[in-house]
């Protein structure tokens, strides 16, 4: 049995890790996993470098920035990815009294985003680009997820990018509507979060990584077959109420990382000025 | 615990003897005691003080002079008995009663200059800002600090601080002036000058004064009566009448045979107490 510590944010997008842990899949593959859901992406990377964790789940955009600044990270596995099935989970909520019907209407508006530079944020900007709307003309304001509904209702912003269940609540409380399900227009299989480790550790622990991937593969199968059970597990680890979870689609789980997805984000961030120097995206996936 | 109620009257020129006994006392101290826990500090003191009278208080160190004065100022509550001011029981401090504290260093506001410290009393009684500078300068002049109005207490000598405190009390324009060894830190000449200054002020304003001192000559020179306290617990040993004419004079009064007789009497008294 190999002991490893994993850090993740407490969100449904890392469901595979929860399931693998809860269903004993890690044990079955010879891994003894200590599991810590943790707040912010940055501290997770720091914990990884400090060695108190071996694998952490971060937003792929954060990973790319870390790599750019010289932290040698590699992707171990993915989990939640974009997919047409879950496209309705995410959208742009507009409050009552604000007229946003076409993408051009967004110009000059104040829009809330859960995390500037996060995956959702980058993807939304990609969508704007597809619609030929410059994101320079829009003011983005970061709004923590729990405040989504209150802030939209309060009127300091015009619209907000949100996922369920906040999305529904925001629409209901502000008597607004969902203007765009923009995810439908974006490519599938882009990971919301990705499990990474340091290259050094990956080299020394190829077997452990293999075992981890196997567990995730099994977990993805399990999720595909047992949505209700998965909801229970996710609820247990994230402490999101089961009633809330049962109203939404669980994220699509595709554990195998792809260079294509990384390239897509790399390009998007480069265009947005969030990345500057060259990154060897092909080498970013642990062998 | 001998409590002697003095029936004798002060021989002040302004108040003839005959009138005195009929007059309401300004301060009536009736069988006052004070204890800290089990320790009795003051044991049964009774004195009446007439308006305009000056009482000197003497007694050995630690006998309770300061404590008595604090009760007269309303700063300490008697354990039993009462202090009355103009017939009403004194419930607490009163602006018409001024007290010069023995520890002058602590009683001044260190962040105010000499002028500012005097000003405090004027502000307290609501004196208009425009009139203050003149009054302050006048008072400081009187106590010999005219040139030091802008000094902070930390920049003044002990005697200067002591005088400053006196000036503040005078600014209060009190009916009753309680002084706790106010000239203790002063040289003989300054002291004599201030004695006359205070006597003059008391005479013109008609204030009643209780004056604690350990200087026998000072006690005689200033007082109409002298209260001699005995220690453990503090109580009145004797009340001595001072039958010296007023206004008094530093040279003539001190050479008066009565003055010398009184000095001898008091000296013997406290020497006996001390043994």
């Amino acid at each position: 049995q190999t002991k490893i510590a994993i850090g993740t944010p407490p969100i449904a997008e890392v469901e595979a890790a929860f399931v693998a842990k809860d269903e004993g899949l890690f044990e079955k593959n010879g891994l003894q996993v200590e599991f810590l859901p943790t707040g912010s992406n940055q501290t997770l990377v720091a914990a990884l470098v400090a060695g108190s964790h071996q694998i952490v789940a971060v937003s792929p955009t954060v990973m790319l920035q870390a790599v750019e600044s010289g932290i040698d990270l590699v992707v171990v596995a993915n989990c939640g990815v974009t997919s047409p099935r879950t496209a309705k989970n995410v959208g742009l909520a507009v409050r009552e009294g604000v007229a946003i019907d076409k993408p051009e209407d967004l110009l000059g508006k104040k829009i809330g985003t859960p995390s500037i530079g996060g995956t959702l944020d980058i993807l939304f900007r990609q969508w704007l680009k597809q619609k030929k709307v410059s994101d320079k003309g829009i003011t983005f304001i970061e709004v923590p997820i729990p405040n989504t509904a209150d802030v939209l209702k309060g009127g300091t912003i015009d619209a907000i990018i949100a996922g369920q269940p906040s999305l529904g609540r925001a629409v209901a409380q502000s008597n607004g509507k969902i203007a765009f399900h923009f995810m439908s227009d974006l490519p599938a299989d882009i990971p919301y979060t990705t499990f990474v480790t340091t290259r050094e550790w990956a080299k020394a622990n190829a077997a452990t990584i293999a075992a981890f991937r196997t567990s995730f593969g099994q977990a993805a199968d399990f999720i595909g077959k047992n949505q209700d059970k998965t909801r229970e597990i996710v609820s247990k680890y994230t402490r999101l109420p089961l009633e809330v979870l049962s109203k939404i689609e669980l994220p699509e789980c595709k554990p195998v990382p792809t260079v294509a997805a990384i390239d897509y984000l790399d390009k998007a961030m480069r265009e947005g000025g969030m990345l500057k120097s060259k990154i060897d995206t092909a080498g970013l996936i642990a062998p | 615990m001998i409590a002697m109620q003095s029936q004798s009257t002060a021989s002040k020129k302004t108040v003839p003897d005959s009138e005195m006994s009929t007059l309401e006392p300004r301060i009536r101290i009736s069988d006052v005691t004070l204890s800290y826990g089990a320790l009795q500090i003051i044991g049964g003191i009774s004195v009446d003080i007439a308006p305009g009278e000056t009482i000197s208080v003497i007694g050995p160190s630690g006998c309770g002079k300061t404590t008595l004065l604090r009760m007269l100022a309303g700063l300490a509550r008697p354990t039993s008995g009462s202090v009355e001011l103009d017939g009403a029981v004194l419930g607490g401090p009163d602006r018409s009663i001024a007290i010069v504290f023995q520890d002058y260093g602590k009683a001044l506001l260190p962040w105010r200059t000499a002028a500012g410290n005097v000003s405090l009393a004027l502000e307290a009684r609501g004196c208009p800002a425009k009139e203050r500078p003149a009054i302050i300068q006048d008072l400081l002049q009187k106590i010999g600090l005219g040139r030091h109005a802008d000094k902070y207490p930390s920049e003044m000598s002990g005697g200067m601080q002591q005088r400053l405190q006196i000036a503040r009390c005078l600014a209060q324009e009190p009916k009753v002036l309680l002084m706790d060894e106010p000239f203790g830190a002063l040289d003989a000449m300054t002291r004599q000058a201030l004695q006359d200054e205070v006597l003059g002020l008391v005479a013109t304003t008609g204030a009643t004064m209780v004056f604690v001192t350990h200087d026998l000559e000072e006690a005689i020179y200033l007082g109409d009566r002298i209260v001699c306290l005995q220690p453990n617990p503090g109580r009145i040993g004797r009340i001595v009448d001072v039958r010296l004419a007023r206004p008094r004079d530093q040279l003539l009064t001190r050479e008066d045979p009565e003055f010398l007789r009184l000095r001898r009497e008091l000296y013997d008294l406290i020497k006996d107490d001390h043994q």
């Binding site: 600044s69 | 100022a73 602006r95 504290f101 602590k106 506001l109 405090l120 307290a124 930390s154």
Partner: protein, 255 residues
């Protein structure tokens, strides 16, 4: 009374130089990964870039404004409440316990609540700053009142000063050294909370710049922001010292 001494200035500079040297030695020894802890040179370069063409200057102005407003609010409320509690027994029984209950509430955890009530506004950040920076002034004022030379309370009683006069003329000046020290603390806390507030409520300013730098692992930029924070704090504290020297003249002469 010029308030400037070459000796003091020289000593201060040499202290700072020693600190920079230690910083450089630590980073050169690579005890902490340079990705998270940049050396002084890299920080300086980032600082210059940010100030010359970058947004640092504007952000600094924003943050300073926020800090000052919050600090003023906190000082006012802290000193007034402290004075109230210091002199009024009723305030002590009715209000003080509630304040004790509020004191340990982390200002950062209050931000989401403040957002719920006030939205993403500058007022919200101000309220959070005031809430967090209030306590040193409050405690120092209460303590200053309590520790005032008892003889002075007697003086005030004898002079028949009313309560307002006791506060204004005796207790506050006597508490002044403590209050001034706490004003300094309060200023620092205000600055820190302005930054945290900007981070959590995404207002324009140094906080956001630091947050974004830290998110994208641009540690040199992050430290450049921190250096500016230090400079703001230093300037604020120097100004306060000057005020202190004036206000505490009476004290300086006694040593």
């Amino acid at each position: 009374m010029t308030g400037f001494s070459f000796r003091k200035f020289g000593l201060g500079l040499s202290g700072l130089a020693a600190f920079l040297l230690i910083w450089k030695l630590v980073t050169d020894a690579k005890i902490v990964s340079p990705i998270f802890l940049p050396g002084p040179e890299r920080t300086f370069t980032a600082l210059m870039n940010g100030l010359a063409g970058g947004p640092l200057l504007g952000q600094t102005v924003e943050t300073v404004e926020r800090m000052l407003l919050g600090w003023l609010l906190a000082s006012l409320v802290g000193i007034l409440l402290g004075a109230l509690i210091g002199v009024s027994r009723r305030a002590r029984t009715y209000i003080a316990p509630t304040l004790e209950l509020l004191r340990p509430l982390p200002a950062s955890a209050m931000i989401p609540i403040a957002i719920a009530f006030l939205g993403f506004s500058d007022q919200m950040v101000l309220v959070v700053i005031a809430f967090g920076a209030l306590w040193p002034m409050l405690l120092a004022t209460i303590h200053g009142f309590a520790a005032m030379e008892p003889r002075l309370y007697e003086v005030s009683a004898v002079l028949g000063l009313n309560r307002l006069q006791v506060i204004w003329k005796l207790a506050l000046p006597s508490a002044m050294p403590m209050v001034l020290a706490s004003l300094r603390l309060g200023l620092t806390i205000s600055l820190i909370l302005a930054v945290v507030g900007e981070m959590l409520a995404s207002r324009e300013g140094l906080g956001q710049s630091i947050l974004l730098a830290s998110r994208s692992f641009r540690s040199a930029d992050l430290f450049a922001g921190i250096v500016i924070l230090g400079a703001i704090g230093l300037i604020g504290s120097r100004l306060l010292s000057m005020a202190e020297r004036r206000l505490l003249r009476w004290q300086a002469s006694s040593r």
